[in-house]
């Protein structure tokens, strides 16, 4: 199978990006400035990411709201048209998180449902709708300077609270802008027709954003304690076990996987998600085993790397027996044993106020 490319593929090549396969898409891993510089640009200024590989499924028409409400774990009535919501799609058999999704409530009976790249088919299977992934580009502009740069295109963006959506006109084309992201920073995600995407990407760079790749996207979301499907979410993991119980509204009488979720809760949670921090620069890595100093195996790292902000290795980990913040655990064996400390999440404080 040939890898899919986004409308910005040539732009990435001209910028000298290193490319990588991600969920069947050939995407920028990093640009010549490198992952760490891109990460720090996002924490200190602004970075722009091509995230057009994320899916967009349009669910619209009479009954659209009911379909969204019946399929997904969160309660769409907590929000309203013009707002966005983070939610999960569960496996009805065992309440595993099939995907984590942003639902953008564009208009009364019109939703943009945004799953991970590889899960678009699953979502259409459950919700119906039309896949417009290949027709539009999504550019994430993130960082403390992001809102200012975005407002230089449309001053009304400055007034947007977090998780809001509104129309965005650029280059004579209609698109949308939402105050969402995956970095722990303030920022927006633009969804625009492919024809104007290279121009928008270029203008964002001219106005001060540093182009950033999937490498920085991963270290940023890790520092922010945000889950990645296939690591913190996936088969055998319920939303509660991933520490995301707030995504589930059990006051809804029905949603896909609700019965299985209640059943799993009755038999007890199998693990919980915690943060662990090393005392040196050496990164933690997925699949490392975590043991208590006396040797008991208590869990496994699900995602790990180096934290550019903290200067040490960090990881998200599932533990099967209780651990407390400040507990010391160990990774590695023999002379390579390293001590790690259980810490509060996120590793790096979220920059935005809760709204």
């Amino acid at each position: 199978m040939t890898a899919k490319t986004t409308a910005l593929f040539e732009t990435h090549r001209q910028l000298g990006a290193k490319l990588t396969d991600f969920g069947g898409w050939e995407m920028p891993l990093s640009y010549p400035s490198g992952t760490i510089a891109e990460h720090l640009a996002c924490r200190r200024g602004a970075a722009v990411f091509d995230v057009s590989h994320l899916g967009t499924v349009v669910v619209e028409g009479s009954g659209a709201r009911d379909r969204v409400q019946a399929a997904l774990t969160n309660n769409i009535d907590k929000v309203a048209p013009g707002r966005a919501q983070y939610t999960h799609l569960l496996d009805p058999n065992d309440a595993s998180v099939i995907d984590d999704i942003i639902v953008v409530w564009v208009a009364e009976e019109r939703f943009f449902v945004m799953p991970n790249a590889s899960n678009t088919e699953n979502v259409i299977g459950v919700l119906g709708g039309t896949d417009i992934t290949r027709n539009r580009s999504v550019l994430a502009l993130q960082g403390p300077s992001a809102m200012g740069i975005a407002a230089s295109f449309d001053p009304t963006i400055a007034e947007m609270k977090r998780f809001r959506v509104q129309e965005f006109r650029f280059g004579g084309e209609d698109g949308h802008v939402s105050t969402t992201g995956y970095t722990g920073e303030q920022g927006v995600e633009f969804s625009v027709p492919n024809s104007v995407a290279p121009q928008l990407f270029g203008e964002l760079i001219e106005r001060g954003a540093i182009p950033a790749g999937l490498g920085a996207r991963d270290t940023l979301r890790l520092e922010a304690g945000l889950p990645l499907h296939g690591h913190e979410l996936g088969p055998g993991i319920t939303p509660y076990e991933a520490g995301l119980g707030w995504v589930v509204d059990l006051s809804k009488p029905e949603f896909r996987g609700r019965d299985a979720l209640l059943h799993q809760e009755q038999s007890g949670r199998r693990y919980s998600l915690v943060g662990v921090m090393a005392s040196s620069r050496q990164p933690l890595r997925a699949d490392m085993e975590l043991r208590r100093p006396e040797g008991e195996l208590v869990g496994r790292v699900s995602s790990g790397n180096f934290s550019p902000m903290l200067g040490v290795g960090i990881g998200l980990a599932f533990v099967t027996s209780p651990v407390a913040v400040h507990d010391y655990l160990e990774v590695g064996q023999g002379k390579n044993v390293r001590r790690v400390e259980v810490v509060d999440l996120p590793f790096v404080s979220k920059a935005y106020a809760k709204t």
């Binding site: 760490i36 510089a37 490498g215 050496q282 180096f306 290795g313």
Partner: protein, 125 residues
């Protein structure tokens, strides 16, 4: 991609600089570029003995973990401790400031047998 003529190279992307009976060892420009941003270096200890092809150090980037192999047999006589706090030197200055360790060589003819810059160039082309 920078490839100094006066150095020797290995197929594992290390460079070797002969200096009397000793060699300086590091990773090539090609290797640092392929690894991406290097965030951690695990150094050998002075006095460690190594045999050609054995792992003597470890380099970790934001995306991977890589072993560094001894290009020749011998004894580690010094290590570049600046890399402990500033591993990014491996990215910015791979052939000079980014040296990893210095090895006192058991058999100097082993150095001659390593790749020259043309042979290494052909390997990575």
């Amino acid at each position: 991609m920078e490839l100094p003529k006066e150095l020797k190279y290995t197929a594992d992307h290390e460079w070797v600089k002969l200096d009397g009976g000793r060699v300086w060892v590091g990773i090539t420009d090609y290797a640092q570029d392929a690894l991406g941003d290097i965030v951690f270096v695990g150094l050998p200890k002075v006095g460690d003995t190594c045999s050609a092809g054995s792992s003597i150090a470890e380099v970790e980037s934001t995306k991977s973990v890589s072993d560094i192999y001894a290009p020749v047999s011998g004894e580690v006589v010094s290590v570049n401790e600046a890399l402990l706090e500033n591993p990014e030197i491996l990215n910015s200055d791979p052939y000079d400031g980014g040296w990893i360790c210095e090895i006192s060589v058991t058999d100097l003819s082993a150095v001659d047998a390593l790749l020259d810059s043309d042979a290494y160039q052909a390997l990575i082309a």
